[in-house]
Every structure is written in structure tokens, then in C-alpha cells.
């Protein structure tokens, strides 16, 4: 009996050590395989302003409340309009800064007089909730200088962005962490349409404003 148990024990030990080996081989080889497919610097989420259809879901889909998505103004593109379609509600009776004339539900857009007849529009990010009403207004009737970006001082960088999951136009993409913003004013014209699921955004890469 004892001999039998002993024999069984060794067999079991053999199975166990074989199992260990079988498990250990993929575990040790997996990092080697993945090493090729690795990016040391990592990725963050960002909205491609040229894919965004300003569907207003960024406001509610983000895991943060208020959303980490904020509107931002690309000043080199801005027309500095007196009748700013991103600032004034459509159908407003007067072009005034009164609350009932403003498009922004939280009053986050600040209007400053520059010179006749131009006004500068800036976003108060503390008030902005990323509803993209102004973005739609500006894109439809203006220069499209207002656009949404995920602000990385607020974003918690979820493994799967909750906005990316429901974004109807797949505008929320992974971008390299060292270039976390896709600034609309810096865009180079793409030579050909990029593939639908491209994860790194070549056309925004390494282009800075002259003098910045």
C-alpha cells in the first residue's frame, strides 16, 4: 500500500511539474510576443474633431460628472464673428449677451470685445459640460473653430472610454500619450482617407503652430 501510494505520489508530482512547465512556458513567452506589440509611452483617449458629429452624448457618457470633454476654440480658425453661431441661440431676437440669447446652457462661453466688429470667444472650462451645442452651431454656420477635446487634467484614462463605446461616429480614438490633443487648427490635410479604426492619428502628429 505504501509502495503504491509512493508510486502514485511520484506520478502526481510528475504531472504537477509538467503542468507547471506547460503553464510557465506561455507565461514567459507571452511578454516576449507582446514586447513587439508594446508602446512604452502608452495611449490616451481623444476626440478627432473631424469625425465628431456633435451628437451631445459626450456630456452624459463620460464616467466623470461633469464630463472631462470640454469645448475649446481654435483661435487661428475663428472668424471672430459678431453674430457668433456658437455663442448666440438660433432665433435670438437680439445679438446681446443676455442669457436668453446665449446658446450655451451653462453660460460657459465668454465674449470679449476686440475691435469693431470683432469679438473674441473663450470657453470657461469650469462651466463647460461638453454638450457640444456650440460646436454644432459653429460647425453648421461658422468656421468650425469650436471643437471638443478630452481634457487630460480631468480624464481618468479608463481602459475603455465610456464615450468611445457609444460614440456613433467612432470619433473617440486612442492617441499617443505624448501628443494627447488633436488640435483642429494644427491639422494637416490627409492625403487619403484614413482607415476607420486607425488608432494612432498620423495627420495630427508632430505639427505645431508656427511660433508656439
Amino acid at each position: 500500500m505504501e509502495k503504491d501510494g509512493n508510486r502514485k505520489g511520484t506520478r502526481r508530482e510528475f504531472v504537477r511539474s509538467a503542468g507547471k512547465l506547460i503553464i510557465a512556458v506561455p507565461v514567459l513567452s507571452l511578454p516576449v510576443i507582446l514586447a513587439k506589440k508594446m508602446d512604452v509611452k502608452g495611449y490616451v483617449w481623444q476626440i478627432d474633431p473631424y469625425k465628431c458629429t456633435s451628437c451631445e452624448q459626450c456630456k452624459t457618457a463620460c464616467v466623470m460628472t461633469p464630463s472631462a470633454v470640454k469645448c475649446t476654440n481654435a483661435y487661428p480658425m475663428c472668424g471672430y464673428c459678431d453674430f457668433c453661431p456658437g455663442f448666440l441661440r438660433q432665433g435670438a431676437k437680439k445679438f446681446s449677451t443676455a442669457a436668453e440669447d446665449q446658446l450655451c446652457p451653462t453660460g460657459a462661453i465668454k465674449r470679449i470685445f476686440v475691435e469693431e466688429p470683432y469679438f473674441e470667444y473663450s470657453i470657461n472650462e469650469k462651466l463647460c459640460d461638453g454638450c457640444s451645442k456650440c460646436v454644432k452651431g459653429c460647425a453648421d454656420f461658422g468656421n468650425g473653430s469650436l471643437y471638443l477635446q478630452i481634457m487630460h487634467n480631468l480624464c481618468v484614462n479608463c481602459n475603455q472610454c465610456a464615450i468611445a463605446r457609444i460614440c456613433p461616429s467612432d470619433a473617440v480614438i486612442r492617441v499617443p500619450a505624448e501628443e494627447p490633443y488633436l488640435r483642429k487648427e494644427l491639422k494637416k490635410e490627409p492625403k487619403e482617407p484614413l482607415p476607420r479604426h486607425n488608432l494612432t492619428q498620423a495627420r495630427f502628429k508632430n505639427n505645431r503652430l508656427p511660433g508656439s
Binding site: 503553464i23 458629429t53 435670438a92 488608432l199
Partner: protein, 426 residues
């Protein structure tokens, strides 16, 4: 006359703009940039950056330290108290400070996405968070579950009562993580979605901010966990499956008794997870005669199960593909074309705006379904093998002379320590 005209100017402008909008939608740069006379320079927007990747390596270092501490506390120091304090630390650091999104459980999907897609390269920190706990599982059992995983820690700290789940119910429920794991891998590999992250119950608590569905799910689990300890770990956690498999082959493992087991049976009721394997008091006397034929039958059943589940999952693939947004959109558009049900979802609206052709969409749908069909049999094989092997294991019987933890299911939580009357004099 002039006054009335002035009144309508805004409407006129709007009408003109509307017409303009329909004509030149794609061209956004409508108005030229003004020439400022007063030397106006536009303000430079200060975009802020995230904390650097260096911090993520610090997270990895904290992970290694915490895992080493957990191994030491569970195996060497045998201190349940210490493990509880480690849980508090992990909950505070990985949970509340890092807000739960540097997570070993979710990293399964990054690995899967990176393995099967060439256009994604996973962050190094995610790989570390995937591999290091598994490495520790090979060395010293599931110490990651014991006190490092923030999801385990929050349940460990709220499990006040111990209600034992009947064996059969436990057996059936503990099959869920296997299915969850393979589905999560499949969905990530096909770039459909990150299932685990989507249904993470506690990340909302870590951020103190969540959609109400997550709040309901998370708090239900926590309330259940007061009585049935660690419900997420036992019945949902997909990373637990990997930990379970790896831990079975661990070099060392936590023991119930510090010295020699006296078979006093005191620890029998000590484990809320039913992870204590009972010893056979007198193997020579009370061993029921088991036929080896049964073992052979179940052994032969393993490949049969793997094959049949592979076939089942292959046929399920088109239905599973519905989780992919592109497939969903293509089906919606097809439904509109074929039976006139109007596509009203925001994705459909965006699709119509994008001007993409129907053929492109359907081709993409077929491509994704093809990928599902390629992957589904493999997950079927994995499920069949797991099920077959676990059933085969029931037919073979190991004679135990000690009470010892089930290496697969034991969380190394150390609850059994205090039930053992054998104490070491140190």
C-alpha cells in the same frame, strides 16, 4: 419701413446661412480670419497633460511590493490582520487614489486586443499589471486576490458574515467566470468592446461617481457580499479564472496549519469559500470502490466536449457579433432597406452623414462576423476542456492525510488561520 426690415435681419441671416449650410456643408472655413488693426494676438490655450508614464511604473512597483507583502503575510507571517491592513492599503491606493483604472482584471482585454490586432500596441504598464500577479500566482498562490486587488479588497473588508453556499449552486455559479472570460477575450480580440470594463461593478465607488446601473449592480454585490463573501471574485471575476489555473501549479502555497495537521476538523467550517479539501481519516477503511472505467469515460469525454462546444460557439458567432457596433449598425441599416423600419439611432444618423456606401458597411460587417467565426471555436474548445477536465477530476481521488486548501479556489485570505489549534512557538 426701415424698422420692420431691421427686425427681420436675424431671420434673414439665418435663412441665408441655412441655405449656405446645405450647399457647402463640408467646407467649414466660411469666414476669412479678420485682419486686426489693434495688434490683437489670440490667446494661447493651455492644454494640460496627464501625469507621465513614469507614474505608471510607480504603480507597477507598488504592485510588486504589495504582492511581496501579501505573499510574506500569507505564507510566512500567517497574519490575517496584516492581510486586512494590506487590503485597506490596496483599496486606498489602487482603488480610491488610482481610481480603479490600473487594473489586472481589465488588462486581459488589452492583451487580447494587442495579440490579435496589429494596429494596437498595448501600454507596457498594462502588460505588467497582467503578468506580475500571474507570476506571483505561480510562486505563491492567489496572493493577488488576498489583499492586492482593490475589487477583492473592498469585498474582503465588507464580508462580515459567512453563509455557505450549497455545493451544487457553487459549482454551477463558478462556471460563469469561465464564460465571462472567454467572451471578454473574444469581444476584445474582435475590437468590439471591453466587456469587463463595461460591467466593472466597483469602479463607480472608487470614483464616487457612476451611472445608476453601476451603482445598483455594485451595491447589490456588496450587500450580497456581507453574507456570501466575495461574490464578484467567485461568480464573476474573469481574472480569477487565470489566477485559479496558475495557482494550481504554484511553487508554494498558504497552508492552514503552521506545522503538522492533526485532523481535528476544526477548520472544516472555517472557509467561507468552501476551499478546504478535507482529509480522509482512514483511507484504507472507508474508501469507496471506484471503477476506473468511469475515469476513462470522463477522460474520453474531454475532447468530445471541446469539439461540441467549439461547434456550438461557431454557430453562435453571428449572434455574438451583435455586440460589435459596426455589425449592429449594418443590421439596422439593412432592416431599414429591407423592411422599412426607420433607422433612428445616433450611429445611423452619423452613418448617413458620413456618406459611406452601403457596400462598405456590409463588407465590414462580414469581415467582423468572419473574425468572430474564427475566434469562437477556440473559446468553445477552452470552455469544453475546462469543463471536461473539471469533471474528469471528480472521478479521480487523491488520498489526503491533511486538511489543505484547494489551490485553485483558495484566495489566501487567511481566514482559516485562527481555526487551527496548532500554534507555533516563536
Amino acid at each position: 419701413m426701415k424698422i420692420t426690415l431691421k427686425k427681420y435681419i436675424p431671420y434673414l441671416v439665418l435663412a441665408i446661412m441655412l441655405v449656405w449650410h446645405t450647399v457647402t456643408k463640408a467646407q467649414e472655413q466660411r469666414f476669412p480670419r479678420p485682419e486686426f488693426e489693434g495688434g490683437y494676438t489670440f490667446p494661447e490655450h493651455q492644454f494640460q497633460y496627464q501625469r507621465g508614464p513614469l507614474w505608471e511604473y510607480m504603480d507597477a512597483a507598488v504592485l510588486v511590493l504589495a504582492l511581496s507583502a501579501a505573499s510574506w503575510l500569507a505564507l510566512k507571517k500567517r497574519s490575517r490582520q496584516g492581510l486586512i491592513w494590506l487590503s485597506v492599503f490596496s483599496l486606498a491606493y489602487f482603488g480610491f487614489y488610482r481610481q480603479g483604472c490600473i487594473c489586472a482584471i481589465g488588462s486581459i482585454q488589452n492583451v487580447s486586443l494587442a495579440l490579435f490586432n496589429d494596429d494596437y500596441s498595448m501600454p507596457f504598464s498594462a502588460l505588467l499589471f497582467f503578468a506580475i500577479p500571474l507570476l506571483f500566482a505561480l510562486l505563491s498562490g492567489r496572493v493577488f486576490c488576498a489583499g492586492v486587488c482593490p475589487l477583492g479588497a473592498i469585498q474582503e473588508l465588507t464580508g462580515f458574515r459567512q453563509v455557505k453556499v450549497p455545493r451544487k449552486v457553487e459549482g454551477i455559479l463558478s462556471a460563469i467566470p469561465f464564460v465571462y472570460l472567454v467572451l471578454a477575450i473574444l469581444f476584445a480580440a474582435t475590437k468590439s468592446q471591453f466587456l469587463i470594463c463595461r460591467y466593472d461593478p466597483f469602479v463607480g465607488i472608487f470614483r464616487i461617481d457612476a451611472p445608476y446601473t453601476m451603482v445598483i449592480f455594485g451595491s447589490l454585490l456588496l450587500v450580497t457580499g456581507i453574507f456570501v463573501n466575495r461574490p464578484y471574485c467567485r461568480y464573476i471575476c474573469p481574472y480569477g479564472v487565470l489566477q485559479n489555473i496558475f495557482s494550481r501549479f504554484s511553487v508554494r502555497h498558504l497552508t492552514i496549519t503552521p506545522a503538522e495537521c492533526r485532523n481535528c476538523r476544526l477548520c472544516e467550517s472555517g472557509c467561507p469559500y468552501d476551499a478546504i479539501l478535507q482529509s480522509d481519516p482512514d483511507p484504507a477503511k472507508k474508501r469507496p470502490k471506484r471503477s476506473w472505467k468511469e475515469s476513462v469515460l470522463y477522460f474520453l469525454l474531454i475532447p468530445v466536449m471541446a469539439a461540441s462546444l467549439a461547434v456550438i460557439f461557431y454557430n453562435l458567432a453571428p449572434s455574438l457579433a451583435i455586440v460589435n457596433d459596426d455589425v449592429k449598425l449594418a443590421r439596422e441599416i439593412r432592416l431599414e432597406k429591407e423592411s422599412g423600419i426607420k433607422a433612428v439611432s445616433k450611429a445611423a444618423v452619423a452613418y448617413f452623414e458620413s456618406g459611406k456606401s452601403e457596400k462598405e458597411l456590409y463588407d465590414e460587417e462580414q469581415l467582423i462576423i468572419g473574425r468572430f467565426k474564427k475566434g469562437a471555436p477556440w473559446i468553445g474548445i477552452f470552455l469544453g476542456l475546462s469543463l471536461g477536465i473539471s469533471m474528469f477530476r471528480l472521478t479521480i481521488r487523491k488520498i489526503r492525510t491533511d486538511y489543505e486548501p484547494d489551490r485553485g479556489r483558495c484566495y489566501s485570505c487567511g481566514k482559516c488561520f485562527r481555526y487551527c489549534p496548532v500554534k507555533l512557538n516563536t
